[in-house]
Amino acid sequence: MQIAIISGKGGTGKSSISAAFATMEEKLVLVDCDVDAANLYLLFDPSHEEIEKFTGSEHAVINYTKCTNCAICIQFCRFDAIHLSKGMVSISEVACDGCRLCSRLCPVGAISNEPQNESRLYSGTFRNGKMVYGILAPGEENSGKLVNAVRDKALEVARAHQIETILIDGPPGIGCPVISTIVGVDMALIVTEPTLSGFQDLERIKAVLDHFQIPSLVLINKYDINKNISKEIESWCTHSGSLYIGKIPFDADFVKAMTEKKSIFEYKPEGTTSVELRRIYRKIKKNYNTQQ
């Protein structure tokens, strides 16, 4: 079973809920695909059995001993990354997309491409099984490609250790890292919150899931912030084709557990939120089993 936990809107509680579910399992592969802001490893301190370098994209670099300032590269760059500054051709690292067109066109071979390879892919063991995650180096691009590499690694680890469950903590948004996170999963759990923003973002992420034909479940976190919107979300689920799976209240224990490097389920296993989350997790698994 491969399940991705996503939300559209950030900060709805994806990672905290992923951590709770992960610690209910005897043995699973826990995957952190929020490579921009990977956090789960902070709770679980996994051992690092493998660390792989990841080369995301490239940046064009000018060799000024060869450059003749002919500016052909400027004419062809579609990313507005090359400018003349003080009479010299210069490339903006931020704007450069690494397409290599400038280096192919340069008549004197003055442009080379430097790979960005500070990002890393980690895999190892933690207290409830195996953990795979990626960390995108600050400022590096191509997070979707790193997410793909993380997911390939997770499948490899699951096969090697004959582990059934792969639980994926996803990034916010609906763009490339999210698409890479959800393609090929058995289902996606959308963690939402009862705010106008949360609701709209839920509708947008649901449309993305529909686009890729992925079944979706909905969990409302902090439902007590606005009970009316919570109700609206519940009824929206029934006519939009998402399975409403349950709700939990705002609970400061999530943060308290986090500061002790625990999931809420480890911190207070008999607390009402933990009990409810366990019931929800069972329901998710049951739903998966009946669909097989």
């Binding site: 579609r78 290599r100 600050p138 400022g139 948004g173 705010t195 490097k261």
Partner: protein
């Protein structure tokens, strides 16, 4: 277009045929302030919308750009008239199989694996979702077999809130991989204002970078939790690389632990504001209401916040 700035200087911004340096000398550049964070849900939109409301009430010309094109939410907080809607397109190649000689040069030039090529079977096609619109294949093709078509990837909507105040929303279409072009276009749209507030997308990769790269000052919003701290440190690394000045707002300041406070003190990072976790804030936010409109206390605090930011950006 004539803009009267808050200092009373009247600036003419209609200078289309001048080269860049002359333009700069003739008009005052707008100050761009990005409200950003690595972690999602820290309160970027909350801060951005309140700052915008405060500045509008002080009759300061200001634009708010919602740069979170994947999940734009700022529109819930304002009532305005839609005055303009623009479609953002990118150029996508298409290969004419009649003129194509199946030489594979376009495939070789494409650095994004967006051209699917099976030479033995004379098969070649463009994988549109992987294309970055760089134009390399077009240059590669010596047989004029590649042309380009426009693909719609999103919209920019401009709303009139009141004289001198507009709200611009970037919104990417469902299923589009990168929102960056939509974000860039939206920021450009706001180019003739006195102050431009950029409500940034979360994360530390492309969408975030392309937003903060255009800013003069960055307000980072962070939470004093282990996750919040980790993401905050990562955002700072990016801002240092980009050489951007920044300050921090600690939101939900009463949750979590002291680590973030100790860190910002030790690193001498400007602490602009602390916002406690209050259910009243959460409730008003959930309904699309502006807390500084509801409470004089918050009105005052956001005014002070703006004064602090102004000091940083007017140097």
């Amino acid at each position: 277009m004539i803009i009267k700035s808050d200092t009373g200087i009247i600036t003419n911004t209609d200078t289309p045929n001048l080269i860049d340096s002359q333009k700069v000398s003739m008009r005052k550049n707008p100050v761009k302030i990005a409200i950003a964070s690595g972690k999602g849900g820290t309160g970027k939109t909350f801060i951005s919308t309140n700052l915008f409301a405060i500045l509008s009430q002080q009759n300061i010309p200001v634009s708010l750009v919602d740069c979170d094109a994947e999940e734009p939410n700022d529109h819930f907080f304002f009532i305005g008239d839609l005055i303009e809607e623009k479609v953002v397109t990118v150029r996508i190649p298409s290969i004419n199989s009649e003129s194509c000689r199946f030489c594979g040069k376009c495939h070789e030039y494409c650095n994004y694996n967006a051209i699917f090529y099976l030479p033995m079977h004379h098969q070649i096609s463009v994988l549109e979702e992987l294309c970055h619109s760089c134009g390399a294949c077009l240059v590669a093709c010596g047989h004029h077999a590649i042309t380009e078509k426009e693909m719609n990837i999103g919209h920019i909507r401009t709303f009139f809130i009141k004289e001198g105040n507009s709200f611009i929303e970037a919104r990417v279409n469902i299923g589009v991989y990168s929102p960056v072009n939509v974000i860039k276009a939206a920021i450009k749209e706001a180019d003739n204002q006195n102050i431009i507030l950029l409500d940034s997308p979360p994360g530390t990769s492309c969408p975030f970078i392309h937003t903060v790269a255009t800013a003069d000052y960055v307000v980072l919003v962070a939470e004093p939790t282990p996750f919040g701290m980790s993401d905050f440190k990562k955002s700072i690394e990016v801002l240092k690389k980009l050489n951007k000045p920044y300050g921090v707002i600690i939101n939900k300041s009463t949750l979590g632990n002291r680590n973030l406070y100790e860190y910002i003190e030790q690193e001498q990072i400007e602490l602009l504001m602390k916002i406690p976790y209050e259910s009243e804030i959460a409730v008003s936010y959930s309904e699309g209401k502006i807390i500084s409109d509801l409470h004089p206390k918050w009105h005052k605090r956001f005014e002070i916040l703006y004064e602090q930011i102004k000091e940083k950006t007017c140097k």
